[in-house]
C-alpha cells in the first residue's frame, strides 16, 4: 500500500474479484471491440493470401463463355460445379496448335461429399502433388484421394469409393461408379486435400458418356431390340458394370465425338510468353467460343470488392469500438466516484498519492490489458484456423 506495485495489485485484484460481473462485461465488450476489426482484417488477409497463392500459380484458365469468377472457383477450388461446359476438343486443339500443356478439369460430381476432379497426370506435376501412399491412377476407374478425404473417410490405397448419384430417383440418370483408390496424396494445405482425383475419362464414365456392359452378342434374344451388322440395340435389361475391373475394362467404350465431351475448365501452360499472349488474344472473353482467363486477374477483381466491403465494416466497427471505449471511460469514472470514500480512507491510513492513482488506474489497465490479450489470442487462433478452415471448406 505504501506505493509499491504489490499493494496496488493486491487491492486492485480484490476489488476486481468483488466486481467480477461488471469486469467480465467490460472485458467482453472491449475484447469484441478489439477482436472484430482485427479478426476481419486478419481473416480477409489470410483468405486473400490463400486464394491469391493458388490463383497466381495458375497461368491461364480456359472455360466456356460465362462467369470468369465461377470458372476460377471451379477449376482452382472445385466448388462451383455448374459452370457452362467446355468441349474437350477446344483444349486438344490448343495443345496441338501451340505446344501448350493443357490440363483438363472436370469438377462436377461428388463422392461422399468430396468433389471428383477428372483430370490428367499433368495436373499432379503442375501442382507439385505427390502420393504419400500407393500410386497415381493407372487405368480407367482408378482414383487418387486428397489427404483430407482419406482422413475424414478413413480410406487408404486399395479401398473403394463410390461416386454419388446426382438424382437418387432418376432411373435414367447417372449410375454411381465404384472407383478403386490407388493412392493418397500428401497434404498440400489446398483444395487438393479435399478432392478425389481421377482420369478425365473416368469422370466421363460417371457422367454416363462412357460405359461398360455385357457383350451385346451374348445377350438373350429377348434383350435385342434391333440388330444391323455391327450395330446392336439392346433394352434396359442389359447389365452395366458399376466398377472397372481387369476383366471388364475392355468392355468400356465411349459414345459420340470425343471432341464434344464436356470439361468444366482447362488449365493452360503456354510454352512461352508469346504463345500466352497469342492465346489470350485468340480466346479473348466475349469474342470466342471459349474464353481464356488469367485467374490472378479474376481474383484481383474479387479482392477489390472484398477489400472495399472489409474497409467499410472495419470503419464501422472502429466507430463502435470508440463508443465502447467512451462508455467504458464513463463506467470507470462512475466507479471511482463510488470508491471516493475508500480512496480517502486509504489516504488517511497513510497510503501515498501514487498508490491511490495506481488503484484508480489498475482496473482500467486490467480491463484494457486483458481485453487486448484475449483479442490478440483470438486473432492468433484465427490466423492458424483460417487456412485449415479454407481447406476444410475446399476453398
Amino acid at each position: 500500500m505504501n506505493g509499491n506495485l504489490a499493494g496496488i495489485f493486491y487491492l486492485g485484484s480484490r476489488h476486481l474479484a468483488r466486481q467480477r460481473g461488471r469486469v467480465v462485461l467490460l472485458v467482453a465488450a472491449l475484447t469484441l471491440s478489439l477482436f472484430l476489426p482485427l479478426a476481419i482484417t486478419v481473416g480477409v488477409n489470410a483468405v486473400e493470401k490463400h486464394l491469391r497463392a493458388r490463383s497466381v500459380s495458375t497461368p491461364l484458365l480456359l472455360g466456356a463463355p460465362g462467369s470468369q469468377l465461377e470458372l476460377v472457383f471451379n477449376a482452382l477450388y472445385f466448388n462451383k460445379p455448374s459452370v457452362p461446359v467446355l468441349p474437350f476438343g477446344v483444349s486438344r486443339e490448343i495443345a496441338r496448335e501451340t505446344g501448350a500443356t493443357v490440363i483438363p478439369i472436370h469438377a462436377k460430381f461428388q463422392a461422399r461429399g468430396f468433389r471428383i476432379v477428372g483430370t490428367s497426370l499433368d495436373y499432379f506435376r503442375f501442382r507439385g502433388l505427390a502420393v504419400a501412399e500407393g500410386n497415381l491412377m493407372a487405368r480407367l476407374g482408378d482414383c487418387v484421394i486428397g489427404s483430407g478425404v482419406a482422413k475424414r473417410l478413413g480410406l487408404k490405397a486399395g479401398d473403394r469409393i463410390v461416386s454419388t448419384p446426382e438424382q437418387m430417383f432418376d432411373i435414367a440418370g447417372v449410375y454411381p461408379l465404384r472407383m478403386r483408390i490407388t493412392g493418397v496424396l500428401r497434404p498440400a494445405g489446398t483444395a487438393d486435400d479435399q478432392a478425389v482425383f481421377c482420369d478425365v475419362k473416368t469422370a466421363w464414365v460417371i457422367e454416363g458418356i462412357a460405359h461398360g456392359h455385357q457383350e451385346a452378342n451374348q445377350q438373350a434374344s429377348s434383350a435385342v431390340l434391333e440388330a444391323d451388322g455391327n450395330h446392336i440395340a439392346l433394352d434396359s435389361s442389359i447389365y452395366e458394370f458399376q466398377e472397372v475391373t481387369p476383366e471388364n475394362i475392355g468392355s468400356f467404350h465411349f459414345h459420340g465425338d470425343q471432341s464434344e465431351f464436356p470439361l468444366t475448365a482447362a488449365i493452360v501452360i503456354a510454352p512461352d510468353a508469346k504463345t500466352e499472349t497469342i492465346l489470350m488474344g485468340r480466346y479473348q472473353p466475349g469474342r470466342a467460343k471459349a474464353w481464356m482467363h488469367r485467374p490472378g486477374v479474376a481474383m484481383e477483381e474479387l479482392f477489390d470488392t472484398v477489400f472495399r466491403v472489409r474497409d467499410f465494416v472495419v470503419a464501422a466497427l472502429a466507430v463502435v469500438g470508440v463508443c465502447a471505449l467512451l462508455i467504458m471511460g464513463l463506467v470507470f469514472a462512475l466507479s471511482n466516484r463510488l470508491r471516493a470514500d475508500e480512496f480517502r480512507y486509504l489516504a488517511n491510513l497513510g497510503a501515498p498519492a501514487a498508490t491511490i492513482r495506481g488503484l484508480v488506474g489498475f482496473e482500467a489497465a486490467f480491463v484494457i490489458a486483458t481485453s487486448a490479450i484475449l483479442a490478440t489470442a483470438g486473432t492468433l487462433v484465427l490466423l492458424v484456423a483460417v487456412p485449415r478452415l479454407l481447406v476444410h471448406f475446399a476453398v
Partner: protein, 238 residues
C-alpha cells in the same frame, strides 16, 4: 497513567480558518493543549465546536492555519504532505464514525492492509481477537453488523501499535449495546497497550471513561475536567 506522564502531543496557539475574504470560518481560535502518554481523553462539544478539526490536525489529516503541534518533540505543523502521510502510517490509528472499511476485503484483510506496511505490527488475527472478532475474520464488511464493522476498524487502527488512537464519534452510528461493545474495545486497547487515546463525542455519558474531559466550544477549550476515577465502559448507560 504514570505518575510523571510524558507529553505526547503539545499543542500551542493552534488556529484554523476555513475560507477566504468575507466568508471565513474560524474552526479553532488558539488552542493550547498537552496530551500525555497513555491517557484517555474525551473531547466533548457540540457539532461545529471544532473538536474534529483539532483531532484532524493532531492526526496529520489537516494542517493548522497558525500555531504549533509537537508530537514527541517533532513539530508536525511544518511537515510536508509526504511526511504527514508517513506520520499517519507509522504513529496514528484512526477510528471514524463511519467505518471506512474496504468492501472488497474481509475483516482480516482490512486489518492486514495496515499490518503489511507497519514497522512492528501485531498480527491481524491478534488485533481482531482484541476486539472479540476472532470468529468473524473471514467475513466481508457487508456480512458484519455496524458494531462489528466498527470493531474491525478499531482492530485496524490498533494493529500497527500506534502511538496515539484518535477516535471521531466511534459510537455515533451505533445503538447503545453495540456502542458499549465498541467502547470496551477502545478501553481495552488503552489499558492493555497504554495507547494515548482521544475520543471525540457529544455524548456526555462517555466522559466518565476518560482521565480528562476537554470541553470545546466555538473553537476554544472552555474547560478541562479531570476524573478522579474512571468508570468501565460496561457500566455506561444512555
Amino acid at each position: 497513567m504514570a505518575e510523571d506522564p510524558r507529553v505526547v502531543f503539545a499543542v500551542r496557539g493552534i488556529t484554523k480558518v476555513y475560507g477566504t475574504g468575507g466568508l471565513t470560518v474560524h474552526a479553532l481560535r488558539g488552542v493550547d493543549l498537552d496530551l500525555y502518554l497513555g491517557e484517555f481523553v474525551v473531547l466533548l462539544g457540540a457539532s461545529g465546536s471544532g473538536k474534529s478539526t483539532l483531532l484532524n490536525i493532531l492526526g496529520g489529516l489537516d494542517s493548522a492555519t497558525d500555531g504549533q503541534v509537537r508530537y514527541q518533540e517533532e513539530e508536525i505543523t511544518t511537515w510536508s504532505t509526504a511526511q504527514l502521510t508517513e506520520f499517519r502510517r507509522d504513529h496514528v490509528g484512526f477510528v471514524f464514525q463511519f467505518y471506512n472499511l474496504i468492501p472488497s476485503l474481509t475483516a482480516r484483510e482490512n486489518v492486514a492492509l495496515v499490518t503489511d506496511i507497519a514497522v512492528d505490527p501485531m498480527s491481524p488475527e491478534e488485533a481482531l481477537r482484541m476486539v472479540d472478532l476472532q470468529d468473524r475474520m473471514d467475513h466481508f464488511p457487508s456480512q458484519l453488523s455496524g458494531g462489528e464493522q466498527q470493531r474491525v476498524a478499531i482492530a485496524r487502527a490498533i494493529a500497527k501499535r500506534p502511538g496515539v488512537l484518535l477516535c471521531d464519534e466511534p459510537t455515533g452510528a451505533l445503538d447503545v449495546r453495540t456502542g458499549i461493545a465498541v467502547l470496551r474495545a477502545i478501553e481495552r486497547i488503552n489499558q492493555e497497550f497504554g495507547t494515548t487515546t482521544v475520543v471525540i463525542t457529544h455524548n456526555a455519558v462517555i466522559a466518565g471513561m476518560a482521565n480528562r474531559v476537554i470541553h470545546i466550544s466555538d473553537g476554544l477549550i472552555q474547560r478541562i475536567d479531570v476524573n478522579e476515577s474512571r468508570c468501565d465502559a460496561g457500566s455506561l448507560k444512555w
